[in-house]
Protein backbone atom coordinates (compact mmCIF):
# COMPACT_ATOMS: atom_id res chain seq x y z
CA UNK A 1 0.00 0.00 0.00
CA UNK A 2 1.20 3.48 -0.69
CA UNK A 3 1.16 6.38 1.69
CA UNK A 4 -2.00 8.13 0.44
CA UNK A 5 -3.96 4.85 0.52
CA UNK A 6 -2.92 4.14 4.10
CA UNK A 7 -3.95 7.59 5.28
CA UNK A 8 -7.22 7.40 3.34
CA UNK A 9 -7.98 3.97 4.81
CA UNK A 10 -7.46 5.24 8.33
CA UNK A 11 -9.63 8.30 7.69
CA UNK A 12 -12.41 6.32 6.04
CA UNK A 13 -12.56 3.68 8.74
CA UNK A 14 -12.55 6.11 11.65
CA UNK A 15 -14.05 9.29 10.26
CA UNK A 16 -16.21 9.88 13.32
CA UNK A 17 -13.35 9.35 15.75
CA UNK A 18 -10.72 11.59 14.20
CA UNK A 19 -11.23 15.07 15.59
CA UNK A 20 -8.35 16.66 13.76
CA UNK A 21 -6.01 15.51 11.06
CA UNK A 22 -2.71 17.28 10.56
CA UNK A 23 -0.07 16.45 7.99
CA UNK A 24 2.96 18.17 9.36
CA UNK A 25 5.32 17.06 6.64
CA UNK A 26 5.66 14.28 4.11
CA UNK A 27 6.58 11.79 6.82
CA UNK A 28 4.86 13.04 9.98
CA UNK A 29 1.09 12.84 10.49
CA UNK A 30 -0.75 13.74 13.69
CA UNK A 31 -4.34 12.75 14.43
CA UNK A 32 -6.37 13.92 17.40
CA UNK A 33 -8.73 11.11 18.33
CA UNK A 34 -11.30 10.44 21.03
CA UNK A 35 -10.02 8.19 23.80
CA UNK A 36 -12.80 5.63 23.18
CA UNK A 37 -11.44 5.08 19.65
CA UNK A 38 -7.89 4.39 20.79
CA UNK A 39 -8.05 0.60 21.03
CA UNK A 40 -9.85 -0.02 17.71
CA UNK A 41 -7.58 2.45 15.93
CA UNK A 42 -4.39 1.10 17.46
CA UNK A 43 -5.35 -2.48 16.61
CA UNK A 44 -6.20 -1.42 13.08
CA UNK A 45 -2.81 0.23 12.68
CA UNK A 46 -0.86 -2.53 14.39
CA UNK A 47 -2.65 -5.68 13.25
CA UNK A 48 -4.19 -4.79 9.88
CA UNK A 49 -1.83 -2.18 8.48
CA UNK A 50 1.21 -3.83 10.19
CA UNK A 51 2.58 -0.61 11.59
CA UNK A 52 5.23 -0.74 14.28
CA UNK A 53 4.49 0.76 17.68
CA UNK A 54 7.39 3.14 18.34
CA UNK A 55 6.47 4.47 21.73
CA UNK A 56 3.92 6.58 23.57
CA UNK A 57 4.78 9.93 25.09
CA UNK A 58 2.71 11.52 27.79
CA UNK A 59 2.60 15.30 28.13
CA UNK A 60 1.15 17.50 30.84
CA UNK A 61 -0.13 20.58 29.03
CA UNK A 62 -1.36 22.32 32.22
CA UNK A 63 -5.00 22.25 31.00
CA UNK A 64 -5.07 18.50 30.46
CA UNK A 65 -2.95 15.47 29.70
CA UNK A 66 -2.03 14.31 26.26
CA UNK A 67 -0.73 10.92 25.25
CA UNK A 68 0.77 10.54 21.82
CA UNK A 69 0.97 7.02 20.43
CA UNK A 70 3.57 6.95 17.70
CA UNK A 71 3.22 4.28 15.02
CA UNK A 72 5.66 3.98 12.17
CA UNK A 73 5.25 2.51 8.72
CA UNK A 74 8.87 1.63 8.15
CA UNK A 75 8.80 0.90 4.44
CA UNK A 76 6.88 4.14 3.74
CA UNK A 77 9.01 6.38 5.93
CA UNK A 78 5.91 7.61 7.75
CA UNK A 79 5.20 8.16 11.44
CA UNK A 80 1.55 8.46 12.46
CA UNK A 81 0.95 9.87 15.94
CA UNK A 82 -2.43 9.39 17.59
CA UNK A 83 -3.12 12.08 20.14
CA UNK A 84 -5.49 11.31 23.01
CA UNK A 85 -6.47 14.17 25.31
CA UNK A 86 -7.39 13.25 28.88
CA UNK A 87 -8.94 15.43 31.60
CA UNK A 88 -6.84 16.63 34.54
CA UNK A 89 -9.05 14.98 37.13
CA UNK A 90 -9.05 11.21 37.01
CA UNK A 91 -7.16 10.68 33.75
CA UNK A 92 -7.63 7.16 32.44
CA UNK A 93 -7.39 5.42 29.12
CA UNK A 94 -7.54 1.87 27.83
CA UNK A 95 -4.31 -0.13 27.90
CA UNK A 96 -2.69 -1.37 24.69
CA UNK A 97 -0.45 -3.88 26.46
CA UNK A 98 -2.60 -6.85 25.51
CA UNK A 99 -2.64 -5.75 21.90
CA UNK A 100 1.10 -5.42 21.65
CA UNK A 101 3.75 -6.42 24.16
CA UNK A 102 5.81 -3.37 23.23
CA UNK A 103 3.28 -1.08 24.95
CA UNK A 104 3.59 -2.85 28.30
CA UNK A 105 6.59 -1.02 29.76
CA UNK A 106 5.83 2.46 28.48
CA UNK A 107 2.37 2.36 30.09
CA UNK A 108 3.98 1.45 33.39
CA UNK A 109 6.37 4.37 32.93
CA UNK A 110 3.62 6.87 32.08
CA UNK A 111 1.60 5.72 35.09
CA UNK A 112 4.37 6.44 37.55
CA UNK A 113 5.62 9.61 35.85
CA UNK A 114 2.28 11.28 35.07
CA UNK A 115 -0.26 9.35 37.13
CA UNK A 116 -2.43 8.22 34.23
CA UNK A 117 -4.43 5.06 34.83
CA UNK A 118 -4.35 2.44 32.09
CA UNK A 119 -7.48 0.30 32.22
CA UNK A 120 -6.78 -3.39 31.78
CA UNK A 121 -3.00 -3.37 32.02
CA UNK A 122 -1.91 -6.94 32.88
CA UNK A 123 1.13 -6.15 35.03
CA UNK A 124 0.80 -2.70 36.54
CA UNK A 125 3.65 -1.99 38.92
CA UNK A 126 6.48 0.50 39.06
CA UNK A 127 9.07 0.36 36.34
CA UNK A 128 11.66 3.02 37.07
CA UNK A 129 10.87 4.73 40.35
CA UNK A 130 12.02 3.06 43.57
CA UNK A 131 9.54 1.40 45.97
CA UNK A 132 10.12 4.16 48.57
CA UNK A 133 8.81 6.82 46.19
CA UNK A 134 5.61 8.19 47.76
CA UNK A 135 2.23 7.38 46.23
CA UNK A 136 0.55 10.15 44.29
CA UNK A 137 3.70 12.13 43.52
CA UNK A 138 4.27 12.29 39.78
CA UNK A 139 7.57 13.83 38.67
CA UNK A 140 6.61 14.79 35.12
CA UNK A 141 3.48 16.70 36.10
CA UNK A 142 3.64 20.47 35.81
CA UNK A 143 2.60 21.00 39.43
CA UNK A 144 5.41 18.78 40.69
CA UNK A 145 7.83 20.82 42.77
CA UNK A 146 11.38 19.69 42.99
CA UNK A 147 11.44 20.35 46.72
CA UNK A 148 8.12 18.69 47.26
CA UNK A 149 7.64 18.11 50.98
CA UNK A 150 6.59 14.55 50.23
CA UNK A 151 9.57 13.85 47.98
CA UNK A 152 12.11 11.39 49.31
CA UNK A 153 15.06 13.78 49.35
CA UNK A 154 13.28 16.14 51.73
CA UNK A 155 12.52 13.39 54.16
CA UNK A 156 16.22 12.97 54.70
CA UNK A 157 16.34 9.39 53.45
Amino acid sequence: MIRSEILKNIQDNFKNDIKAFFEKSSNRVYMDISSSALLPMASYLFKVLKARFNIASGVDTRENFEILYHFSFDELDLIVSLRVVLPKDNPQVVSLALLCEGANWIEREITEMLGIHFIGHPDMKRLLLPPEWPEGVYPLRRDYKEWDSTAIRDRGV
Binding site: S25, N27, R28, Y30, R52, F53, N54, I55, S57, G58, V59, D60, L68, H70, S72, D74, E75, D77, I79, S81, C100, E101, G102, N104, W105, I106, M113, R126, L127, L128, L129, P130, P139, L140
Partner: protein, 394 residues
Amino acid sequence: MGRTIVPIGPYHPLQEEPEFFKLTVEGETVVQIEVQVGYNHRGIEKLSEMKTFDQSTFAVERICGICSTSHPFAYTQAVEDIFPVEVPMRAKFIRVIIAETERIHSHLLWLGLAGHFLGYNTVFMWAWKLREEILDVMEILSGNRNNYAMFKPGGIRRDIKPEDIPGVLKKIDSIIPTLEMLKKAVMDDPVLHARTKNIGILKKEDAINFCAVGPTARASGVKRDVRKDSPYAAYDQFPWEMITCEAGDVFDKLVVRVLETFESIKMVKYCLNKLPDGPIDLNFKDIPPGEGIGHIEAPRGECFHYVRSDGTNRPARHKVRAPTFMNLPTYKATIIGQTISDATIILAGIDPCYCCTERMGVLDTKGNRIYSGADLLLLSQQKTENIRKQMGVK
Protein backbone atom coordinates in the same frame (compact mmCIF):
# COMPACT_ATOMS: atom_id res chain seq x y z
CA MET B 1 10.22 -30.91 40.37
CA GLY B 2 10.88 -28.18 42.90
CA ARG B 3 11.40 -24.67 41.76
CA THR B 4 14.30 -22.46 42.74
CA ILE B 5 14.44 -18.74 42.34
CA VAL B 6 17.74 -17.42 41.06
CA PRO B 7 18.13 -13.68 41.38
CA ILE B 8 20.64 -12.14 38.96
CA GLY B 9 21.61 -8.60 39.67
CA PRO B 10 21.03 -5.78 40.36
CA TYR B 11 24.01 -5.65 38.05
CA HIS B 12 23.94 -7.23 34.63
CA PRO B 13 26.05 -10.38 34.37
CA LEU B 14 27.60 -9.45 31.05
CA GLN B 15 27.58 -5.72 30.62
CA GLU B 16 27.95 -5.16 34.36
CA GLU B 17 25.12 -2.68 34.49
CA PRO B 18 22.29 -2.22 36.98
CA GLU B 19 19.21 -4.31 36.37
CA PHE B 20 17.70 -7.21 38.22
CA PHE B 21 16.48 -10.52 36.86
CA LYS B 22 14.55 -13.04 38.90
CA LEU B 23 14.84 -16.39 37.16
CA THR B 24 12.62 -19.20 38.36
CA VAL B 25 14.31 -22.48 37.50
CA GLU B 26 13.35 -26.14 37.56
CA GLY B 27 16.58 -28.03 37.77
CA GLU B 28 18.66 -26.30 35.14
CA THR B 29 15.80 -24.98 33.02
CA VAL B 30 14.45 -21.46 33.28
CA VAL B 31 10.65 -21.50 33.53
CA GLN B 32 9.87 -17.92 34.42
CA ILE B 33 11.60 -14.57 34.35
CA GLU B 34 10.93 -11.21 35.94
CA VAL B 35 12.87 -8.08 35.10
CA GLN B 36 13.36 -5.01 37.25
CA VAL B 37 15.04 -1.86 35.97
CA GLY B 38 15.27 1.69 37.20
CA TYR B 39 18.34 1.44 39.43
CA ASN B 40 20.00 4.09 37.36
CA HIS B 41 17.08 6.37 36.54
CA ARG B 42 18.45 9.90 36.31
CA GLY B 43 15.39 11.86 35.27
CA ILE B 44 16.98 13.27 32.12
CA GLU B 45 13.56 13.94 30.57
CA LYS B 46 12.74 16.19 33.51
CA LEU B 47 16.21 17.74 33.46
CA SER B 48 15.88 18.53 29.77
CA GLU B 49 12.83 20.71 30.45
CA MET B 50 15.04 22.95 32.59
CA LYS B 51 17.80 23.35 30.00
CA THR B 52 17.88 25.36 26.81
CA PHE B 53 17.65 23.57 23.47
CA ASP B 54 21.43 23.82 23.08
CA GLN B 55 22.21 22.61 26.60
CA SER B 56 19.90 19.62 26.29
CA THR B 57 22.20 18.23 23.59
CA PHE B 58 24.90 17.83 26.23
CA ALA B 59 22.50 16.38 28.78
CA VAL B 60 21.27 13.66 26.42
CA GLU B 61 24.82 12.87 25.36
CA ARG B 62 25.33 11.61 28.91
CA ILE B 63 22.47 9.09 28.67
CA CYS B 64 24.69 6.40 27.20
CA GLY B 65 28.37 5.90 27.78
CA ILE B 66 28.90 3.52 24.89
CA CYS B 67 26.84 5.01 22.07
CA SER B 68 26.99 8.59 23.28
CA THR B 69 26.28 10.05 19.84
CA SER B 70 22.96 8.33 19.22
CA HIS B 71 20.92 10.43 21.66
CA PRO B 72 22.21 13.86 20.59
CA PHE B 73 21.71 12.69 17.00
CA ALA B 74 18.06 11.74 17.58
CA TYR B 75 17.50 14.89 19.66
CA THR B 76 18.88 17.23 16.99
CA GLN B 77 16.79 15.43 14.38
CA ALA B 78 13.72 16.00 16.57
CA VAL B 79 14.46 19.71 17.03
CA GLU B 80 15.07 20.10 13.29
CA ASP B 81 11.72 18.38 12.70
CA ILE B 82 9.81 21.10 14.59
CA PHE B 83 10.20 23.54 11.71
CA PRO B 84 11.45 22.89 8.20
CA VAL B 85 15.22 23.21 8.03
CA GLU B 86 17.77 21.64 5.76
CA VAL B 87 21.10 20.93 7.41
CA PRO B 88 24.17 21.63 5.21
CA MET B 89 25.50 18.60 3.34
CA ARG B 90 28.93 18.74 4.94
CA ALA B 91 27.33 18.56 8.39
CA LYS B 92 25.24 15.58 7.27
CA PHE B 93 28.32 13.71 6.10
CA ILE B 94 30.20 14.44 9.31
CA ARG B 95 27.19 13.24 11.31
CA VAL B 96 27.31 9.94 9.44
CA ILE B 97 31.07 9.64 10.00
CA ILE B 98 30.68 10.10 13.76
CA ALA B 99 27.64 7.83 14.06
CA GLU B 100 29.17 5.01 12.04
CA THR B 101 32.57 5.16 13.71
CA GLU B 102 30.72 4.84 16.97
CA ARG B 103 28.79 1.84 15.67
CA ILE B 104 32.09 0.10 14.83
CA HIS B 105 33.38 0.65 18.35
CA SER B 106 30.09 -0.35 19.97
CA HIS B 107 29.77 -3.60 18.01
CA LEU B 108 33.41 -4.48 18.73
CA LEU B 109 32.84 -3.84 22.42
CA TRP B 110 29.87 -6.22 22.44
CA LEU B 111 31.75 -8.86 20.43
CA GLY B 112 34.62 -8.78 22.90
CA LEU B 113 32.36 -9.08 25.93
CA ALA B 114 30.34 -11.89 24.34
CA GLY B 115 33.58 -13.73 23.61
CA HIS B 116 34.72 -13.28 27.19
CA PHE B 117 31.52 -14.70 28.60
CA LEU B 118 31.67 -17.73 26.37
CA GLY B 119 35.19 -18.39 27.55
CA TYR B 120 36.92 -16.98 24.48
CA ASN B 121 39.25 -14.48 26.02
CA THR B 122 41.27 -14.25 22.81
CA VAL B 123 38.21 -12.87 21.02
CA PHE B 124 37.82 -10.39 23.84
CA MET B 125 41.40 -9.17 23.56
CA TRP B 126 41.43 -8.97 19.76
CA ALA B 127 38.11 -7.14 19.57
CA TRP B 128 39.06 -4.62 22.23
CA LYS B 129 42.45 -4.06 20.65
CA LEU B 130 40.70 -3.13 17.39
CA ARG B 131 38.25 -0.98 19.29
CA GLU B 132 41.18 0.97 20.73
CA GLU B 133 42.18 2.03 17.19
CA ILE B 134 38.63 3.24 16.57
CA LEU B 135 38.66 5.24 19.78
CA ASP B 136 41.89 6.86 18.58
CA VAL B 137 40.08 7.75 15.36
CA MET B 138 37.33 9.35 17.42
CA GLU B 139 39.92 11.34 19.31
CA ILE B 140 41.45 12.64 16.08
CA LEU B 141 38.03 13.54 14.62
CA SER B 142 36.32 15.04 17.67
CA GLY B 143 38.94 15.54 20.37
CA ASN B 144 37.39 12.95 22.67
CA ARG B 145 37.41 9.18 22.91
CA ASN B 146 33.82 9.28 24.14
CA ASN B 147 31.12 11.95 24.61
CA TYR B 148 32.17 13.70 21.44
CA ALA B 149 29.95 16.81 21.73
CA MET B 150 29.88 17.08 17.95
CA PHE B 151 26.16 17.62 17.50
CA LYS B 152 24.00 20.71 17.81
CA PRO B 153 20.57 21.51 16.42
CA GLY B 154 21.18 22.87 12.94
CA GLY B 155 24.55 21.32 12.24
CA ILE B 156 27.66 20.19 14.00
CA ARG B 157 29.95 21.90 16.43
CA ARG B 158 33.42 21.11 15.06
CA ASP B 159 34.67 20.64 11.54
CA ILE B 160 36.92 17.80 10.40
CA LYS B 161 40.29 19.14 9.30
CA PRO B 162 41.34 17.99 5.79
CA GLU B 163 44.86 17.19 7.02
CA ASP B 164 43.47 14.69 9.55
CA ILE B 165 41.65 12.59 6.95
CA PRO B 166 44.61 10.57 5.49
CA GLY B 167 45.71 9.50 8.97
CA VAL B 168 42.20 8.46 9.92
CA LEU B 169 41.76 6.44 6.72
CA LYS B 170 45.08 4.71 7.35
CA LYS B 171 44.04 3.77 10.88
CA ILE B 172 40.68 2.42 9.70
CA ASP B 173 42.34 0.43 6.92
CA SER B 174 44.76 -1.05 9.41
CA ILE B 175 41.99 -2.81 11.37
CA ILE B 176 40.32 -4.44 8.35
CA PRO B 177 42.67 -7.48 7.94
CA THR B 178 42.47 -8.32 11.66
CA LEU B 179 38.72 -7.85 11.64
CA GLU B 180 38.45 -10.22 8.64
CA MET B 181 40.46 -12.79 10.57
CA LEU B 182 38.27 -12.31 13.64
CA LYS B 183 35.14 -12.67 11.53
CA LYS B 184 36.40 -15.93 10.05
CA ALA B 185 37.42 -17.23 13.45
CA VAL B 186 34.03 -16.41 14.96
CA MET B 187 31.90 -17.64 12.05
CA ASP B 188 33.68 -20.95 11.48
CA ASP B 189 34.28 -22.08 15.03
CA PRO B 190 32.36 -25.32 15.75
CA VAL B 191 32.41 -24.77 19.52
CA LEU B 192 30.98 -21.31 19.14
CA HIS B 193 28.28 -22.73 16.90
CA ALA B 194 27.41 -25.34 19.52
CA ARG B 195 27.29 -22.62 22.14
CA THR B 196 25.22 -19.97 20.31
CA LYS B 197 23.18 -21.67 17.57
CA ASN B 198 19.54 -22.38 18.49
CA ILE B 199 20.12 -20.63 21.81
CA GLY B 200 17.70 -17.92 22.87
CA ILE B 201 15.66 -17.83 19.68
CA LEU B 202 13.52 -14.75 19.17
CA LYS B 203 10.85 -15.73 16.67
CA LYS B 204 9.84 -13.26 13.98
CA GLU B 205 6.30 -12.86 15.31
CA ASP B 206 7.68 -12.23 18.79
CA ALA B 207 10.08 -9.63 17.44
CA ILE B 208 7.09 -7.87 15.85
CA ASN B 209 4.88 -8.19 18.93
CA PHE B 210 7.59 -6.87 21.26
CA CYS B 211 8.34 -4.13 18.69
CA ALA B 212 12.01 -5.07 18.82
CA VAL B 213 14.44 -2.80 16.99
CA GLY B 214 17.94 -2.86 15.59
CA PRO B 215 20.17 -5.94 15.34
CA THR B 216 17.84 -7.82 17.70
CA ALA B 217 14.97 -7.50 15.20
CA ARG B 218 17.14 -7.88 12.12
CA ALA B 219 18.59 -11.18 13.38
CA SER B 220 14.99 -12.48 13.52
CA GLY B 221 14.33 -11.61 9.89
CA VAL B 222 12.49 -8.33 10.49
CA LYS B 223 13.80 -5.93 7.87
CA ARG B 224 13.90 -2.73 9.87
CA ASP B 225 16.65 -0.18 9.79
CA VAL B 226 15.88 3.49 10.19
CA ARG B 227 18.91 4.36 8.08
CA LYS B 228 17.31 2.52 5.14
CA ASP B 229 13.60 3.09 5.84
CA SER B 230 13.77 6.75 6.65
CA PRO B 231 17.14 7.95 5.37
CA TYR B 232 18.23 10.82 7.58
CA ALA B 233 21.52 12.75 7.40
CA ALA B 234 23.47 11.45 4.40
CA TYR B 235 22.46 7.78 4.44
CA ASP B 236 20.76 8.10 1.04
CA GLN B 237 23.90 9.48 -0.58
CA PHE B 238 25.83 6.23 -0.95
CA PRO B 239 25.12 2.53 -1.43
CA TRP B 240 25.14 0.21 1.58
CA GLU B 241 23.41 -2.98 2.61
CA MET B 242 21.02 -3.75 5.42
CA ILE B 243 22.16 -6.95 7.16
CA THR B 244 19.43 -9.40 8.15
CA CYS B 245 19.40 -13.01 9.31
CA GLU B 246 16.54 -15.44 9.78
CA ALA B 247 16.97 -17.67 12.84
CA GLY B 248 16.97 -15.04 15.60
CA ASP B 249 19.30 -16.98 17.90
CA VAL B 250 22.38 -15.60 19.63
CA PHE B 251 24.58 -16.67 16.70
CA ASP B 252 22.53 -14.65 14.22
CA LYS B 253 22.64 -11.60 16.45
CA LEU B 254 26.40 -12.00 16.46
CA VAL B 255 26.55 -12.39 12.66
CA VAL B 256 24.41 -9.29 12.11
CA ARG B 257 26.70 -7.22 14.32
CA VAL B 258 29.93 -8.48 12.78
CA LEU B 259 28.73 -7.89 9.21
CA GLU B 260 27.33 -4.47 10.12
CA THR B 261 30.76 -3.48 11.35
CA PHE B 262 32.10 -4.00 7.82
CA GLU B 263 29.26 -1.96 6.33
CA SER B 264 30.03 0.86 8.77
CA ILE B 265 33.70 0.81 7.79
CA LYS B 266 32.67 1.16 4.15
CA MET B 267 30.39 4.09 5.00
CA VAL B 268 33.01 5.93 7.06
CA LYS B 269 35.60 5.53 4.31
CA TYR B 270 33.18 6.73 1.65
CA CYS B 271 32.15 9.78 3.65
CA LEU B 272 35.73 10.74 4.47
CA ASN B 273 36.76 10.44 0.83
CA LYS B 274 33.75 12.30 -0.56
CA LEU B 275 33.33 14.90 2.19
CA PRO B 276 31.66 17.88 0.46
CA ASP B 277 32.73 21.47 1.12
CA GLY B 278 30.51 24.10 2.59
CA PRO B 279 29.17 25.39 5.90
CA ILE B 280 28.68 23.05 8.83
CA ASP B 281 26.06 24.89 10.83
CA LEU B 282 22.84 26.78 10.17
CA ASN B 283 23.26 28.87 13.33
CA PHE B 284 19.55 29.30 13.93
CA LYS B 285 18.58 31.00 17.14
CA ASP B 286 14.85 30.82 17.77
CA ILE B 287 12.81 27.68 17.76
CA PRO B 288 9.12 28.26 17.01
CA PRO B 289 6.31 26.48 18.90
CA GLY B 290 5.53 23.02 17.61
CA GLU B 291 6.47 19.41 18.00
CA GLY B 292 9.03 17.22 16.37
CA ILE B 293 10.00 13.57 16.19
CA GLY B 294 13.50 12.37 15.53
CA HIS B 295 14.49 8.77 15.18
CA ILE B 296 17.82 7.34 14.20
CA GLU B 297 19.45 3.93 14.09
CA ALA B 298 21.75 3.65 17.09
CA PRO B 299 24.10 0.62 17.35
CA ARG B 300 21.42 -1.14 19.41
CA GLY B 301 18.41 -0.12 17.34
CA GLU B 302 16.04 2.74 16.80
CA CYS B 303 16.51 5.65 19.19
CA PHE B 304 13.39 7.80 19.37
CA HIS B 305 13.07 11.38 20.63
CA TYR B 306 9.97 13.53 20.80
CA VAL B 307 10.43 17.25 21.49
CA ARG B 308 7.71 19.84 22.02
CA SER B 309 8.52 23.52 21.92
CA ASP B 310 6.25 26.26 23.28
CA GLY B 311 8.24 29.09 21.71
CA THR B 312 10.56 29.63 24.67
CA ASN B 313 14.21 28.66 24.60
CA ARG B 314 13.69 25.35 26.37
CA PRO B 315 11.76 22.20 25.46
CA ALA B 316 8.27 21.98 26.97
CA ARG B 317 8.48 18.20 26.82
CA HIS B 318 11.27 15.91 25.76
CA LYS B 319 10.59 12.20 25.53
CA VAL B 320 13.54 9.87 25.17
CA ARG B 321 13.18 6.24 24.19
CA ALA B 322 16.36 4.22 24.03
CA PRO B 323 16.45 1.07 21.88
CA THR B 324 16.95 -1.22 24.87
CA PHE B 325 13.56 -0.13 26.23
CA MET B 326 11.95 -2.12 23.43
CA ASN B 327 14.55 -4.90 23.21
CA LEU B 328 14.89 -5.76 26.88
CA PRO B 329 11.36 -7.21 27.34
CA THR B 330 12.10 -9.76 24.59
CA TYR B 331 13.79 -11.81 27.33
CA LYS B 332 10.34 -13.01 28.23
CA ALA B 333 10.21 -14.74 24.85
CA THR B 334 13.81 -15.92 24.54
CA ILE B 335 14.89 -17.23 27.92
CA ILE B 336 12.05 -19.58 28.90
CA GLY B 337 13.09 -23.20 28.46
CA GLN B 338 16.80 -22.44 28.27
CA THR B 339 19.42 -23.49 30.84
CA ILE B 340 20.99 -21.19 33.42
CA SER B 341 24.42 -21.56 31.84
CA ASP B 342 23.01 -20.07 28.64
CA ALA B 343 21.13 -17.33 30.48
CA THR B 344 24.12 -14.97 30.60
CA ILE B 345 24.70 -14.99 26.86
CA ILE B 346 20.99 -14.74 26.02
CA LEU B 347 20.58 -11.81 28.38
CA ALA B 348 23.57 -10.24 26.66
CA GLY B 349 22.44 -11.12 23.15
CA ILE B 350 20.41 -7.95 22.71
CA ASP B 351 23.41 -5.82 23.74
CA PRO B 352 21.62 -4.08 26.60
CA CYS B 353 22.75 -0.65 27.63
CA TYR B 354 22.25 1.09 30.98
CA CYS B 355 25.42 2.42 32.49
CA CYS B 356 28.61 0.89 33.79
CA THR B 357 29.23 -0.39 37.28
CA GLU B 358 30.31 -3.74 38.54
CA ARG B 359 28.80 -6.17 41.02
CA MET B 360 26.67 -9.25 40.83
CA GLY B 361 25.45 -11.90 43.25
CA VAL B 362 23.35 -15.02 42.77
CA LEU B 363 21.94 -17.02 45.62
CA ASP B 364 19.62 -19.87 46.28
CA THR B 365 16.50 -18.75 48.16
CA LYS B 366 16.82 -21.68 50.54
CA GLY B 367 20.32 -20.56 51.32
CA ASN B 368 21.81 -23.92 50.34
CA ARG B 369 23.99 -22.78 47.50
CA ILE B 370 25.30 -19.34 46.95
CA TYR B 371 26.61 -18.44 43.54
CA SER B 372 28.75 -15.39 43.15
CA GLY B 373 28.85 -13.45 39.90
CA ALA B 374 32.16 -15.10 39.10
CA ASP B 375 30.56 -18.54 39.60
CA LEU B 376 27.89 -17.84 37.03
CA LEU B 377 30.56 -16.64 34.60
CA LEU B 378 32.52 -19.79 35.36
CA LEU B 379 29.41 -21.90 34.69
CA SER B 380 29.10 -20.35 31.24
CA GLN B 381 32.79 -20.72 30.47
CA GLN B 382 32.86 -24.31 31.73
CA LYS B 383 30.06 -25.26 29.37
CA THR B 384 32.15 -24.06 26.43
CA GLU B 385 35.13 -25.98 27.82
CA ASN B 386 33.05 -29.18 28.02
CA ILE B 387 31.82 -28.78 24.45
CA ARG B 388 35.41 -28.25 23.36
CA LYS B 389 36.47 -31.47 25.04
CA GLN B 390 33.57 -33.44 23.55
CA MET B 391 34.46 -32.21 20.09
CA GLY B 392 38.13 -32.78 20.62
CA VAL B 393 38.95 -29.15 19.85
CA LYS B 394 41.91 -27.66 21.65
